[in-house]
Symmetry: C2
């Protein structure tokens, strides 16, 4: 039972909800950048304004959606470290609350998703690079020249791509280590 609005006039309470709704919808709309569905984004926005951890039933009620959907939605949010599972004695229900450190949330997302992509692509690039090099080396005398010519362009492109991903990997390192805050402080320099 939320008596946070006790003693308020109806239109005052209405105004607060309107203010929240604007933020929630903006957040929900932009969470596609995290590869998150809109309704999951709205769920996140809802939880953002909650002062206490929520359980699945409360979410379903507030979102007017099934508990099943809340379960899957909350799972993706937990997987992305955007929401944390909370233990509260006396309650048998699972409770969740949003991670309040958004800088961390942002960093976690990159480390998780982009690092994986970088690694996958690097693996593929290096494997193909290897194959092409060996193909050129192993070519018979008469095919050696055409093979080299055919492979040169690809090897060049692959080399460029690898260099890029190594750079991106270091960018991700900067987020993971927190070194980013030395170059972009959380509070802007007041000069």
């Amino acid at each position: 039972m939320n008596d946070k609005f006790a003693g308020l006039e109806p239109d005052q309470e209405q105004a607060i909800h309107k203010a929240r709704k604007r933020v929630i919808e903006s957040i929900g709309k932009n969470m596609d950048l995290y590869g998150i569905t809109q309704s999951t984004g709205l769920l996140y926005g809802l939880m953002f304004f909650q002062d206490k951890p929520m359980n699945l039933d409360e979410m379903g009620q507030a979102m007017e959606m099934s508990k099943t959907s809340m379960s899957t939605g909350i799972r993706t949010l937990v997987d992305l470290n955007m929401v944390n599972k909370v233990w509260e004695k006396g309650s048998r229900k699972d409770l969740y609350e949003v991670e309040r450190d958004w800088h961390q949330t942002f960093a976690d997302f990159f480390v998780l998703k982009w690092r994986k992509a970088v690694e996958m692509n690097l693996t593929a690039l290096r494997r193909s690079q290897n194959e092409l090099v060996k193909l050129a080396e192993g070519a018979s005398a008469e095919t050696a020249e055409p093979v080299r010519a055919a492979v040169a362009g690809d090897l060049d492109k692959i080399g460029q791509a690898i260099a890029y991903y190594l750079w991106l990997d270091r960018v991700i390192d900067l987020l993971e280590s927190g070194g980013i805050y030395e170059h972009v402080p959380k509070e802007p320099d007041s000069d």
Copy 2:
């Protein structure tokens, strides 16, 4: 007509295609991070290995898809600055080639998409912040205290969020200005 593989034995040509295919599919699979559909990602991967600009018909043939789909796919890639339209005299067809500077591609994506999200969210947050402040200020004597209490938490959360987005905005600045390369050089320091 691509005679790039002239003089090659069939299995050599096969090996090259296999090497390319691995990279193309890896790229295609991970392009969802850019909010791009898999097939558009594959189109991008295909173009990545092309030495000459491609037209829509060539793409459709290579992808075994309709020209319409190529048109829409290429549009999203152009909108993201991942592919450039190229002019070639003598050809009435539109020609496209991938942007080779992937660092720039990465930066462009963030400036384009994330900046937009930051601005949208900041706008919503500030607007709601304003409303809540005014709500508290304008409350009648008897409701002043409950209103203040009800609004305090939201204002605090909104303030935190605004601070975060201002930070994120500066991170985007760092990418846009190229200042990122001072802290994460394209070529790693060789020490």
